[in-house]
């Protein structure tokens, strides 16, 4: 081995900057910051071994450690060996004959999750001693575990299973009776706990106490009989409880919603967004054969870290409702054949729109539609001189993730010019226009307008009512043209969240029946009414919007990546 390969550290003349330090992980030199932000307070705290290992691309198995939670150091799975440069009496490193600092190996192991790194430290994660320690910790964790993987919902994404593959024994030498603890514990309205599966890592306790601020969970009893429980007499019920299911490394905490519904390895995972408020939490949709089984948060530092609220997470069942609108419908004369299909109906609608007098068309489009759809509608509105608006949807927000604005794309509705200022201000004007007879055609996308002051009597005055929606309601029943649309899970697109972050989502399941993504048929309408725009795809449409609208300037579909991009100015 030559000197250069044995000692690839930079020469002493170029020391690393003061705010970083160099350590070695399994011999590989890696530069890490001296401090990293504390996951809860954000204050700088010394960088730990596990962070250095991850920087070096070395996986250290762990259960209790979670990058977003305070360190507990209780599982002992991340024990590693380490050494530090030996110092002479002058407090300077003693050098080996080859010029490299002499390393004193610590006689005791250290937990990588809590031990700060120091300059020149060497971390060893693959020595026989480290492997033996992992094996023994895993054996200890497994002796009292029920080993009920065949009926456990976590099977397939369980850390106990995964590390058993890597560090476990095929056979147990444990011949004693196992510790028995409560099973099927009804912790709260959304969570069931199996205490026998629990490995007491306290991730759920720390998340609930330190992130949510609800000191609801804790341990009772001692030693191996330690038992996770909720505060006596109080259900575990805040808006973030289901995150504990995600961070539970084993199958102790399970979601009542997902429990026993589907084996996780059958699920197709699609990156998407939560549409239940303006925060725009990044999610993964778990689906199989066009049925959605669960939402899980997807990590995005700029938006939701790795959490999401229960309200948003469970708001998906409507996508699979049996009464979804699945048929395209035009005005039906007596004795005529039903539903002639998209092409003739769109041609009919565009014909009517082209003939409409300027100002005689109004558009009400939901702030739950995508940026691209709202942009197309804005183009139509401009061509037709139409009065437009969206519908505000307000609730109660919290300090964590839930925004008081329950529309996923209010910012998009404002930036595309569809929404009035304030949102909803044009709705009375539209109602007045219909009453006065100046507005003869109304295009409604995704809203129930009979509840918004545009009652059945007003809608009856319209010459043409074109409605696109997902679920049936009073408005869709009164539509002359009914265009079945898609839930976000059935199409692609982008939303702009409350903080001006433009994020895209992918298609998880197929639309039902005749339903088509709104952007597709709105694009066709726009082509037929306003003329060709040169776009062929959703990507092209987004890029054109970014060129057209100053607010989106500089963005491209490709540039959004899977984490989105922030607008230059706040919406």
């Amino acid at each position: 081995m030559t000197m250069s390969t044995a000692n690839p550290t930079p020469s002493p003349s170029t020391p690393p900057p003061a705010d970083t330090l160099q350590v070695r992980v399994n011999g590989k030199a890696v530069e890490v910051p001296r401090t990293m932000p504390d996951p809860v307070s954000g204050k700088p705290v010394p960088t730990t071994m596990i962070q250095a290992c991850f920087t070096a691309g070395v996986m250290v198995p762990h259960y209790c450690y979670h990058p977003k939670l305070p360190v507990a150091g209780n599982c002992r799975m991340c024990l590693v060996e380490f050494g530090t440069p030996a110092l002479g009496p002058d407090r300077k490193p003693i050098l080996n004959p080859d010029g490299a600092p002499r390393i004193t190996k610590s006689p005791r192991p250290a937990i990588a999750c809590a031990t700060p790194v120091s300059p020149g430290m060497e971390i060893y994660t693959d020595t026989p001693a480290v492997k033996q320690m992992r094996e023994s910790v895993l054996e200890f964790l497994l002796i009292n575990h029920p080993l009920d993987c065949p009926i456990c919902d976590k099977a397939g994404e369980c850390k106990l299973q995964e590390y058993s593959e890597d560090h476990g024994e095929a056979q147990s030498r444990f011949v004693e009776p196992k510790v028995h603890k409560p099973k099927r514990v009804d912790l709260g309205p959304r969570i069931v706990l199996d205490d026998e599966r629990c490995i007491l890592c306290t991730r759920c306790i720390r998340f609930t106490r330190d992130i949510v601020g609800d000191d609801a969970l804790g341990l009772v009893n001692r030693g191996s009989y330690s038992t996770l429980t909720a505060y006596p007499g109080r259900p575990f019920d805040n808006n973030y409880t289901l995150n504990t299911v995600d961070i539970c490394p084993v199958g102790a905490l399970t979601s009542k919603d997902f429990r026993f519904q589907m084996r996780v390895w059958f699920l197709k995972e699609t990156p998407s967004l939560c549409t239940s408020c303006a925060t725009g939490c990044n999610i993964v949709i778990g689906s199989r054969e066009d049925r959605i089984y669960r939402y899980e948060p997807r990590e995005n530092e700029a938006v939701n870290a790795c959490w999401m609220c229960d309200y948003g997470r469970l708001n998906y069942a409507w996508i699979g409702r049996a009464d979804r609108l699945t048929e395209i419908r035009g005005p039906q004369a007596a004795g005529q054949a039903p539903a002639p299909g998209w092409t003739p109906i769109l041609r009919e609608i565009s014909g009517k729109l082209r003939q409409a007098a300027a100002g005689s068309v109004a558009i009400i489009a939901s702030a739950r539609q995508t940026n691209e759809e709202l942009y197309l509608l804005a183009k139509l509105a401009k061509k037709l001189g139409a009065l437009t608006d969206s519908v505000p949807r307000m609730g109660e927000g919290d300090r964590l993730l839930l925004n008081a604005d329950r529309n996923p794309n209010s910012a998009g509705a404002r930036l595309t010019g569809i929404a009035a200022t304030p949102m909803g201000a044009n709705l009375p004007k539209i109602a007045e226009g219909i009453r006065a007879g100046t507005i003869k055609t109304l295009l409604v996308v995704g809203e129930e307008v009979t509840r918004l002051g545009l009652g059945a009597d007003l809608l009856a005055r319209l010459e043409t009512l074109i409605v696109s929606d997902i679920l049936p309601n009073e408005t869709t029943r009164r539509a002359h043209y009914l265009l079945p649309g898609c839930a976000h899970a059935e199409k692609r697109g982008t939303f702009t969240n409350a903080r001006g972050r433009v994020q895209k989502f992918m298609k998880a399941v197929e639309p039902r029946g005749d339903a088509r993504p709104e952007w597709e048929f709105l694009h066709e309408l726009a082509l037929q009414v306003a003329g060709p725009d040169g776009c062929q795809s959703l990507e092209g449409l987004f890029n054109q919007m970014a060129r057209d609208l100053p607010a989106f300037a500089g963005l491209t579909w490709a540039g959004l990546g899977n984490q989105g991009a922030t607008l230059r100015s706040e919406p």
Binding site: A114, E139, R173, F174, V175, H180, S224, T227
Partner: protein, 487 residues
């Protein structure tokens, strides 16, 4: 003839001596405190000025005092680690959670001479710029807590405590806090958590070294009752003078609790290292020997967590001869001087100073089962190896003592115990629960194997092949089963 050297125990058990302040004052009490508070600043030859408290800390450093709680760590060094520049208050905690099986020395001080401990505490607090101190006393010492509270009241009334102590301008308040009955509360960081009102889960070190991030994340000193009493005597005598007691690096006196199969179980104060284990067991001034017709079988030399010694063991120790030259000598078990270093060199420890003597009537497997049960019951359950390992060992030993043993159980136990200590756990409880099992099984291996073999033979004769778990479920298990809803 080895003799007791009663310094801390000087007045304890003397006829007429009571825990009352008036009695303590009659015996010269609080004179040392007065002397400590009056210590003027001293200018060193180099021009550096040492304040009174700094001089006191130096005396303790010079005295070589080692902690009497169990670890035997230098008290002066511990005090020197305290972060005095943080701007945060410094707390002192007196660890009165004496719970190591076999240990009953602190109890004597608390119950019989509480003011001696308070005087030591006040001096230690003054030396470390502490203005708020706590006594964490184990929950079972109900009367002890009452005695301490009464003593605090008396001290406050006489101006030994509170604002402007004895006119010195120094303020100190001391509170008594009772534990709720858990061994782990004696672990200093577990104690701190408990004092903060949480479960006594020991903290991870780093970063939570008490000297920097202790009670309420402030620098904190945790000292044992006996250690704090020793501080008083160090200040009274001067550190160098105190260091003349005992032997080099094992200075001063310490109280030894002798229990088990001796004629005179009890507590004895000795100069550290001046008395051997054999003298402590056999000398009429101490244990007074074994019962009639009994032979020594084993000694647990430092509380139940210390590694056991087998009768007849010899050790190769480095010793300094009269000519000052160091040589390796063979030392018999009973000739081991009772001090910190000799017992460590012999592979065990003097721990909390509790000597448990076992004679040949002892069922060694049952003795270990008893110890293992204790540690399984007291494991806090925070970290994996200790939580699972302590109960696993206890269950295996229960099997072995209830007719369901196997010949391979000796190895089985050793294997479990080997996976717990050595820095794999958050606190030293991992060592505490593993060391007895490791040492008992290693030194009495034949007895463990014979026990398992006899059980296996009996099972084979009755046609049963494998050992079945036996015994009633643990109360917590029974409670858990009762809580589980029926299908």
């Amino acid at each position: 003839m080895p003799q007791e050297y009663r310094q801390i125990l000087q007045h304890i058990d003397q006829p007429g001596y009571t825990p009352a302040l008036e009695c303590y004052l009659r015996h010269g009490g609080y004179a040392v405190l007065r002397q400590a508070l009056a210590l003027p600043p001293r200018t060193l030859p180099g021009g550096q000025v040492l304040s009174g408290p700094e001089q006191l800390r130096q005396e303790v450093m010079v005295s070589g005092l080692r902690g009497r709680g169990g670890a035997g760590f230098s008290c002066g060094l511990k005090w020197s680690f305290v972060d005095r520049k943080s701007g945060k208050p410094i707390y002192l905690i007196c660890n009165a959670d004496e719970s190591e099986p076999g240990t009953f020395k602190d109890k004597q001080i608390i119950y019989k001479d509480p003011h001696q401990m308070l005087e030591g505490m006040i001096i230690a607090s003054y030396a470390n710029d502490v203005h708020l101190a706590f006594i964490y006393i184990r929950g079972e010492f109900v009367e002890g807590a009452r005695i301490l509270n009464r003593a605090l009241q008396e001290a406050r009334a006489k101006g030994f405590l509170g604002r402007n102590i004895l006119g010195s301008g120094y303020d100190l308040e001391i509170h008594v806090h009772r534990g709720a009955g858990a061994y782990i509360c004696g672990e200093e960081t577990g104690l701190i958590e408990s004092l903060e009102g949480k479960r006594a889960y020991p903290r991870i070190k780093p970063p939570y070294f008490p000297a920097v991030l202790g009670l309420y994340q402030c620098p904190t000193i945790v000292n044992n009752v006996e250690t704090l009493c020793a501080v008083k005597h160090i200040v009274a005598r001067g550190g160098a003078e105190y260091a003349r007691l005992g032997t080099p690096n094992n200075t001063g006196t310490r109280i030894v609790s002798i229990s088990g199969h001796v004629r005179r179980p009890g507590y004895y104060e000795i100069e550290v290292g001046k008395v051997t284990l054999g003298e402590l067991i056999h000398d009429p001034a101490f244990g007074g020997g074994l019962r009639e017709g009994r032979q020594l079988k084993a000694i647990i030399p430092g509380g139940s967590s210390a590694k056991v010694f087998k009768a007849g063991e010899t050790f190769k120790l480095k010793r300094r001869g009269p000519d000052g030259k160091e040589s390796v000598q063979e030392v018999a078990l009973l000739d081991l001087p009772y001090d910190f270093d000799s017992l460590i060199a012999a592979g065990s420890m003097s721990g909390s100073g509790a000597i448990i003597v076992l004679d040949d009537s002892t069922d060694i497997v049952a003795a270990l089962a008893n110890i293992a049960d204790f540690y399984a019951h007291e494991s806090c359950g925070q970290c994996t190896p200790c939580r699972e390992g302590s109960l696993w060992m206890a269950k295996a030993l229960r099997r072995l003592t209830h007719g369901e043993g196997r010949p391979e159980d000796a190895d089985y136990l050793a294997h479990i115990a080997d996976n717990i200590p050595g820095g794999r756990t958050i606190c030293a409880f991992g060592e505490a629960c593993a060391w007895p099992v490791q040492s008992f099984v290693a030194k009495f291996r034949d007895e463990f194997i014979a026990r398992g073999a006899a059980d296996a033979k009996r099972r084979a004769a009755s046609g049963r092949e494998t050992a079945a778990p036996s015994g009633p479920p643990h109360p917590a298990t029974a409670a858990a089963l009762a809580q589980t809803p029926a299908e």
